[in-house]
């Protein structure tokens, strides 16, 4: 019993000590952490080409993956290649060009897909297999 009490008191003391240490560190870093947090702003990305998106923007923001996934199964399994909800279609409109007029991958830093996904902390897995630039056919168009 005595040992039990001692251990319990020891643990409490330790946890109090830890809290003091953490508080001290937090206080010294505090202001900068809060500042950094406040600085997280809305993602900024290049504007898309084409006149308007295939769906309203607020729906696309939330549900683009639903459209992509549905289309992916239709394309792979059934050979339906309508461009409306195809990933290639997204890239054709949303890939930006650099100063030399070359397409920049949509998953490069600051680009359309990447900037939002970094903001939302969601990893994009598409581009380990899929091309992140428009196809050669589209690249040749102005």
């Amino acid at each position: 019993m005595i040992w039990g009490d001692l251990i319990e008191r020891g643990c409490k003391w330790l946890s109090r000590a830890m809290r003091v240490v953490v508080m001290t560190i937090a206080l010294s870093l505090g202001t900068s952490v809060i500042e950094a947090y406040a600085e997280v702003s809305q993602p900024v990305f290049p504007s898309a080409r084409g006149e308007q998106c295939v769906e309203p923007v607020d729906i696309m923001r939330r549900d683009h993956f639903e459209f992509l996934k549905h289309q992916r199964d239709k394309t792979v399994r059934e050979g339906i290649r309508t461009p409306r909800h195809s990933l290639a279609g997204c890239i054709d409109c949303h890939a930006d060009k650099d100063a030399q007029g070359r397409f920049v991958p949509v998953n490069a830093k600051g680009q359309f897909c990447q900037s939002c996904h970094v903001y939302a902390a969601v990893k994009i897995d598409c581009f380990s297999c899929h091309a992140a630039r428009p196809s050669e056919r589209v690249s040749q168009s102005p």
Partner: protein
């Protein structure tokens, strides 16, 4: 439907929103939708069964026009590790030791009607499309490679390392298995596979592509009128790739 003379086509980004699907490139600009056998929003159908005829008498040792065309079309084989590069078509040279007769032929996925790769796949990633093309849905493939073990023709490859520079029409990546797709992206726009086109361009015409089910199709006609055979016919897989002169 003319498989061999279809013109190259381009998709423009603006058309996705405009609702116009595809345009042919000048000269002879036309709306492709009018010429497509199957509308873009129509699923592949069991009315067709796409197949290939390999005329072994026309194929020559040393020619790899089909293999290179396949590699270029799908972006295969440009890594610095040729040992592990994917091979969708392999050229096989054969010698009959009794007679000394030498043969050379391309070997690829035979697009079996009863595909063992599909039977063994634990995830449903390996599948047979309604029109007979056997594919891997890489979104569901877990890279277990059961299908590679099951395929009697060693037609499949596993991707061991990260890839870059994939083509838009041929997504490929580490950890998934892949094989000849019969150029499904080209078939879906009424073109023949890249290998068939390359063989014809090389002046050999050893490959004929077409619809086995369509009695008027040049492929079906040749299958009906000449003796062809399946590789490992004893397995009763009813392959869509047939060989003549073997």
């Amino acid at each position: 439907m003319d498989m061999k003379n279809s013109s190259p086509r381009r998709t423009f980004f603006t058309q996705a929103s405009a609702g116009v699907a595809l345009l042919a490139l000048a000269p002879g600009v036309r709306l492709v939708d009018l010429a497509l056998a199957r509308a873009q929003d129509e699923p592949a159908s069991a009315a067709q069964r796409w197949g290939l005829l390999v005329d072994v008498d026309r194929c020559v040792s040393g020619c790899d026009a089909c293999v290179s065309a396949c590699n270029t079309e799908h972006g295969l084989g440009d890594s610095e590790r040729p040992q592990t590069d994917a091979q969708w078509i392999r050229k096989v040279d054969l010698v009959d030791h009794n007679t000394g007769r030498q043969l050379s032929l391309p070997l690829m996925c035979q697009h079996c009607e009863e595909p063992p790769c599909v039977d063994v796949c634990p995830t449903g990633a390996s599948f047979r499309r309604a029109d007979g093309i056997v594919l891997v849905d890489k979104h569901t493939c877990i890279g277990c490679r059961y299908c590679m073990m099951a395929c009697p023709y060693k037609a499949r490859s596993f991707i061991h390392e990260d890839l870059t520079g994939q083509k838009t029409h041929a997504p490929r990546g580490k950890g998934a298995v892949e094989s000849c797709t019969l150029c499904v992206h080209r078939v879906d726009r009424d073109e023949s596979p890249a290998c068939v086109e390359a063989c014809t361009d090389a002046g050999r015409e050893a490959l004929v592509f077409g619809d086995i089910n369509d009695r008027n199709d040049p492929l079906a006609t040749q299958l009906a009128e000449t003796t062809t055979r399946e590789l490992r016919a004893d397995l009763k897989l009813n392959t869509a790739v047939r060989y003549r002169g073997l």
